[in-house]
């Protein structure tokens, strides 16, 4: 986070810079960034949690590639099958079939003591569908949307921002006016109108959101380009005869990679909330397909009788969004050249520890560097 910039008195600035310089001597830019990122404990943990969730979502119930996702009876007429190429997973139940209800009301079979998952660890809904399978499928779709939107928006935002910032003049005017028009409509409103138009398909919804969510990225990239295009290395490239295309993509763009990566990450955490909100309102992914928001919308009347239908999808949304946010924070720290290392090495836990140590005589917090302002 850029706002973590500590308040340092004159003396320690010199010291820290020298420490910083010594620590990064002989390292490539990528190595410095990687090293800084690995120091952000929250971000590293989040990467692993997110990877685990992606694996869990896709391997557990398998997935469906292509097809309309509609349910049709199979040739023997006993089961429903889903349209498209189906890859089965290791979980024994599917997200669309009904099963015998195990516990009264379809309560979760998960128990802590003795520890066991049982047949339906997250419970069943009132028609006997397995909630674990449904949540996993919902998570797949929500993650799909997040990644597709992330890619589309980043590409559009980067290209348009780069063009506007590099060429300025009327190109800039046109692109920025388009951006203004999209920004003034709340994203949820525009997303809902588009979602209603395309009617419930996850892939199309993701493309549509991707087409409107690039505005913030374009503005940031444009600002970066506006300042970078005045630098000497751009002049040098131009004198050497490089084409505009080459200057934009080979010379300037690599210098904006930090801004792009960070803002793409934060965009993705906003997208999961947007997609689930749209699906909650009924303008996003709709039945028979599943998204985490759609599950909550479908079951929110049943909160009093079957709270487990409500807790799990919400929990997974929060965990995914939190992980992406933490990764974004870690990336921002890693790409920020002004980053000072001293305060960041304190984790939340040790900070709370220091605070309570404050009540033990002799140990006083606030005596470390970077606290110039808080000592009255």
């Amino acid at each position: 986070m850029t706002d973590k910039k500590p308040v340092v008195d004159e003396q320690s600035v010199g010291q820290e810079l020298s420490i910083e310089q010594r620590a990064t001597v002989g390292l490539s830019q990528g190595a410095i960034v990687r090293r800084r990122f690995l120091q952000h404990r929250g971000a590293v943990v989040s990467v692993f949690v997110l990877l685990f969730l992606v694996l869990l979502a896709f391997t557990s119930v398998g997935t469906v590639i292509g097809g309309t996702g509609k349910l049709t009876p199979d040739p023997s007429g006993t089961r429903l099958i889903v349209d498209g190429f189906r890859i089965p997973g290791w979980w024994g139940y599917t997200w669309w079939e009904r099963y015998d209800i195990m516990l009264p009301g379809g309560a979760p079979t998960f128990t802590w003591w003795p520890f066991s998952f049982g047949e339906h660890p997250f419970g069943q809904d009132n028609t006997g569908k397995d909630v674990f399978a449904r949540v996993m499928r919902g998570m797949q779709q929500s993650l799909n949307v997040v990644f597709i939107v992330g890619i589309i928006s980043t590409v559009i935002g980067v290209v348009l921002g780069a063009l506007a910032g590099y060429y300025r003049g009327w190109v800039d005017q046109v692109i920025m006016r388009i951006t203004d028009v999209i920004i003034i409509v709340p994203l949820l409103i525009l997303g809902a109108v588009l979602g209603q138009t395309i009617g419930g398909d996850a892939f199309l919804l993701a493309v549509m959101i991707g087409l409107i969510a690039w505005t913030g990225m374009a503005r940031l990239v444009r600002a970066e380009f506006l300042s970078l295009r005045e630098r000497e290395f751009v002049d040098a490239a131009r004198v050497a005869g490089a084409s505009d295309f080459r200057i934009i993509f080979r010379h300037i763009l690599p210098n904006t990679v930090g801004v792009i990566v960070v803002s793409a990450t934060l965009l993705m955490s906003a997208v999961i909330l947007l997609e689930t909100s749209l699906s909650f309102l009924g303008f996003g992914i709709t039945d028979p397909d599943i998204s985490l928001g759609q599950i909550i919308s479908q079951y929110n009347e049943a909160f009093k009788t079957r709270p487990w239908l409500f807790w799990w999808p919400g929990l997974f949304i929060v965990v995914i969004a939190l992980c992406i946010n933490f990764i974004g924070d870690g990336l921002r720290d890693a790409f920020d050249p002004r980053q000072k290392r001293v305060p960041r090495q304190r984790s939340l836990g040790s900070e709370i520890g220091t605070f309570f140590k404050a009540y033990v005589p002799g140990a006083r917090p606030g005596a470390r560097p970077g606290d110039g302002t808080s000592n009255k």
Binding site: M1, T2, D3, K5, P6, V7, D180, V181, I182, I183, I184, V185, P186, L187, L188, I189, L190, A192, V193, L194, Q196, T197, S269, L273, S277, F280, L281, G282, F283, I296, N300, F303, K304, G314, I317, V318, A321, L322, N325, F326, D329, P343, R346, L348, E351, I352, T354, F355, F356, A358, Y359, R364, P365, G366, R368, G370, D371, T373, S374, K376
Partner: protein, 514 residues
């Protein structure tokens, strides 16, 4: 400054015009408004389809329909608004639908925004001043969590969990000892973190804040205050003294004797005047009396400040006026809580005191009593406002913290310290104002998120307000209804932009000069 605001206003209006065209065409193309009728077996269905098609000009392409709609909007300038009719609502004119829906959404959005700004800026500033303290880390972590919360989930949780828990607590208002202990410890922790300083100061602030809050809770519990809450004379006095102390602490500090005297006088005046004001509130039962009382108290504050102020008239008068203005709050709350028993008697038996459905109780809406209606709105707005506020709160906290940290690093702040100014003067007079400049721009940016959040919150709490216009309109492809919603939110967005620009130019002199 005026040209700056005017130029921005014109640009925003043009952008809004183009955006309205896009939304109109997209909505019109998103489906068939007469789908239900087309599937109907009713013999009169064909006639209805023909009638509605004619009424909505469905034979024309959406682009043409947009311009006839725009013509209707343009007619507003000559006093003949025509926003079309709503098919989804039995051919009710959209302007009527807006009229019935606007008030509650406006209240919700404004309350959530103002609360988010005030609380967010306060939290962000305190964390910036106590950077790298435990409090700072806890708040930073919590802003991450709040950023990641889906608003519909929070709203449903508040509705199904918060309201029901609180209502059953009000049914038998006994605060268990452990929750008093936890609340006391947490408040003590926050208090001592904000005060900071040496170990001794921290322990004192921990004990006094935590102990004070715990004692207050125990007092409320013992006197069974929650059974029929009231403010009364004592409550008004306590709240006025507390607001006076907070305002005095942040603006001039207690060492400024003249300010202390002025604030003391205005607090005493508020408490004394609360008695005659009661009769005013009772006999002139109208929301305008609140403004009248506000004007009286602010005026008294200015007068007192002027006469007591001495050398620092402006500062003292401002402080006293703010204290006087805030003194209206306990008076209004007192009036509302006087009607508590009447309110409880009038709400449906199945509902709890904290309502979870709708924006008001119909039975109370019919009673011609401003204060009772206010209390009713308050209990209905409480949970949606919290849900809506939580999301913006995280953003404001983070930006306020980042912005104040940036400013506190600058040379002029060091200069201010170097010439011997106190920490309060440095922070409140020199740093705060400049730190607010980025916040002013965020108000306009955050507005879209608030409107989106309002649509979701109103859906969860079943409000018949602007959000339901949009939901209903879009589900049934009722373009006029959706555009009614869009028009109102667009105008609100323009107003928020202008407010942000005005704040911006008030805070940043460079804008005023150029």
């Amino acid at each position: 400054m005026l040209t700056f605001v005017a130029r921005r206003l014109v640009a925003t209006l043009l952008v809004l015009l183009v955006a309205s065209f896009i939304v109109y065409v997209l909505t019109a193309n998103s489906g068939d408004p007469l789908r239900e009728l087309r599937g109907s077996r009713d013999p009169s269905a064909q006639d209805q389809i023909a009638y509605l098609s004619g009424l909505l000009n469905l034979d024309q392409p959406p682009v043409l329909r947009y311009f006839s709609w725009l013509g209707g909007v343009g007619a507003c300038f000559i006093g003949q608004c025509d926003l079309g009719i709503s098919v989804a609502r039995g051919q009710q004119p959209v302007i009527e639908a807006i009229g019935g829906a606007l008030g509650s959404t406006l209240q919700l959005v404004l309350a959530a925004t103002i609360l988010a700004i005030v609380i967010g800026v306060a939290i962000g500033m305190t964390t910036a001043l106590r950077q790298y303290s435990g409090y700072d880390y806890v708040v930073t972590f919590l802003t991450f969590v709040f950023y990641s919360l889906p608003i519909f989930w929070v709203a449903v949780l508040l509705k199904e969990f918060g309201a029901i828990q609180f209502n059953s607590f009000l049914g038998d208002p006994v605060i268990p000892w452990w929750s008093i202990l936890i609340i006391g410890l947490v408040m003590g922790f926050i208090g001592s973190s904000i005060v900071g300083g040496e170990l001794r100061t921290r322990v004192i602030s921990f004990v006094s804040v935590g102990g004070g809050i715990a004692a207050l809770l125990i007092l409320l519990d013992v006197t069974r205050w929650f059974e029929s809450p009231s403010i009364g004379f004592v409550g008004i006095a306590l709240m006025s003294v507390a607001t006076g102390a907070v305002v005095l602490f942040t603006s001039t500090g207690f060492h400024n004797r003249r300010a202390l005297l002025a604030v003391g006088i205005i607090v005493v005046l508020t408490v004394i005047l609360s008695w005659p004001f009661q009769f005013l509130f009772y006999y002139v039962n109208s929301p305008w009396t609140v403004l009248l009382v506000l004007a009286i108290l602010v005026g008294l504050g200015l007068l007192v400040g002027f006469f007591v102020g001495g050398d620092g008239k402006a500062v003292v008068a401002r402080t006293a006026a703010i204290v006087g203005g805030l003194g209206v709050l306990p008076l209004v709350l007192d009036q509302m809580f006087i009607r508590w028993d009447e309110y409880v008697a009038r709400i449906p038996l199945s509902n709890g005191v904290i309502a979870t459905i709708g924006a008001s109780t119909p039975a109370i809406r019919r009673v011609d009593d401003t204060w009772l209606n206010m209390l009713d709105s308050l209990t209905h707005m409480l949970l949606p406002t919290i849900a809506l506020m939580i999301i913006s709160l995280a953003a404001y906290t983070r930006y306020a913290r980042a912005s104040l940290l940036d400013v506190m690093n600058q040379d002029y702040v060091r200069t201010a310290r170097a010439k011997g100014l106190g920490e309060r003067t440095v922070v409140m007079r020199h740093a705060f104002r400049n730190a607010m400049i980025p916040i002013a721009t965020i108000i306009a940016l955050d507005f879209g998120a608030v409107i989106g959040g309002a649509v979701i919150t109103e859906r969860v709490f079943a409000w018949q307000a602007m959000g339901s216009l949009f939901n209903e309109g879009l589900h049934r492809i009722d373009v006029n209804l959706v555009m009614g919603f869009f028009l109102v939110t667009g105008i609100l967005a323009v107003i928020f932009n202008v407010i942000a620009d005005l704040l911006y130019s008030a805070l940043d002199p460079r804008i005023r000069v150029s």
